[in-house]
Point group: C2
Chain length 193, copies 2
C-alpha cells in the first residue's frame, strides 16, 4: 500500500484561484486555460483533483457561499427583522462592490449562464439561490417583530430582489457608495426605524 507522488499544489488555494476566475469572468467566459493558468497547475492535475469544469464550478460555488457569502446565513441570526435586512443588504454591497474582489455576484452571474452547455452550472446557482431565499422566508415566518401586513414570503422575495439588483448594479459599474445610498433609501422606506 503506497503513498505515491505527493501533490505539488494545495487544492484549497487552487480552488480559491478558480473561484476568483469564475467570479470575474463567469462560467461561460472562463476557459480551462484560464483556470489552469490562475490555479498554477496543468490540465490533468485539475481533472484528477476536481473532476471537470462543471464539478470544479460547483465546488467553487460552494466555497463562495461558505466564504465570501457567509454573511447571508449569519445575518439571519440578527435579533430584529430590520437588522436582518440591513445586514443582508450591506453584506451584498460589500460582497459585490467591495475592494479586492471582482465586482458582481458569482451566483447572480451564473444564473445568466444560459448557453446549451451551461445548464448544470446554472442549475447549481439557482438551487443555491432558492435555498437562501427559503431560509430568509423561514426567518421572517418566525419573527415576532414582523410588521403587520407583511407576508414573510413576499418580504423575503423582495429583499432577495433588492440584493440581486445590487449585484447587477455592481457588475455594471456602480460604486459601493452609490449603492449605499440606494440601500439607505430602500431600508428607510421598507422598514422605518
Amino acid at each position: 500500500m503506497p503513498g505515491g507522488r505527493p501533490r505539488a499544489f494545495d487544492p484549497d488555494v487552487a480552488l480559491d484561484r478558480a473561484l476568483e476566475v469564475f467570479w470575474r469572468q463567469g462560467y461561460e467566459g472562463t476557459s480551462l486555460s484560464d483556470l489552469t493558468g490562475a490555479m498554477g497547475i496543468n490540465r490533468p492535475s485539475l481533472y484528477a483533483a476536481f473532476g471537470n469544469k462543471e464539478e470544479l464550478f460547483v465546488k467553487a460555488l460552494d466555497r463562495y457561499i461558505s466564504g465570501p457569502g457567509a454573511f447571508a446565513d449569519e445575518a439571519l441570526a440578527a435579533p430584529t427583522v430590520r437588522e436582518v435586512v440591513e445586514r443582508l443588504v450591506e453584506g451584498a454591497i460589500e460582497l459585490t462592490a467591495g475592494t479586492g474582489t471582482p465586482h458582481g455576484c458569482l451566483s447572480v452571474n451564473s444564473v445568466h449562464a444560459c448557453g446549451p452547455d451551461s445548464a448544470p452550472a446554472r442549475e447549481a446557482a439557482i438551487a443555491c439561490r432558492m435555498a437562501g431565499e427559503a431560509a430568509l422566508r423561514r426567518r421572517f415566518e418566525e419573527a415576532p417583530d414582523l410588521p403587520p401586513g407583511f407576508d414573510p414570503a413576499v418580504l423575503a422575495r423582495l429583499v432577495h430582489t433588492v440584493t440581486d439588483g445590487i449585484a447587477v448594479q455592481a457588475a455594471s459599474g456602480h460604486t459601493r457608495e452609490e449603492l449605499r445610498e440606494v440601500a439607505a433609501l430602500a431600508l428607510r422606506t421598507l422598514l422605518p426605524a
Copy 2:
C-alpha cells in the same frame, strides 16, 4: 448599374429571430450556428447583412430596447412619480416573466457576459443601462410631486435596482404572479398612495 440577386430573407424578421436567441441564451451562450439556424440563413448571408456576431448583437439590443423594452421610455410620460415607477416595475415584470418571450432581460443578462471576448457586447449593454437610468433621474429631477427627502438620482437608482432584481428573479424561475406580489410590496412601502 445592376440590381443583383435579391435577398431570400427579410432582414427585420431575421433580426427578430437573432434577438430571441440572444435573449434566451445570452451573448456568450449563443453560437453562430445557433443564430443562422434560428434566422434561417447561412453564414455568409449573416455576415453580409449584419457584419459579425458583435454587430449583430448590438443591432439586436437596439431592437430589444425599441421593441419589447419600449415601455421604459413610455413610462416616463406618466403624470406622477408613482405612476412612472408603477409602470416601470410592471413593465419589467411583463418583459422578463411574460409569456411568449424568454425569461429574464437581455440587457441584464449581457452585463454578465464578462469573458475575454465579450467586452463589446457587455459595454453596449452597460451603455444602454446607463442611458435608461439617466433618463429616469432627469424625469424625477423635474417632477414637482417628488416626495420630500427623496434624492432624484438615488430614487432612480433604487427603481433601477428593483427592476434589475426582478429580471434576475425572472431568469431564475420566479413567476409573474410572485413578482407582482413583490412589486406591490415595494410600491406601497416606497411610495404610499
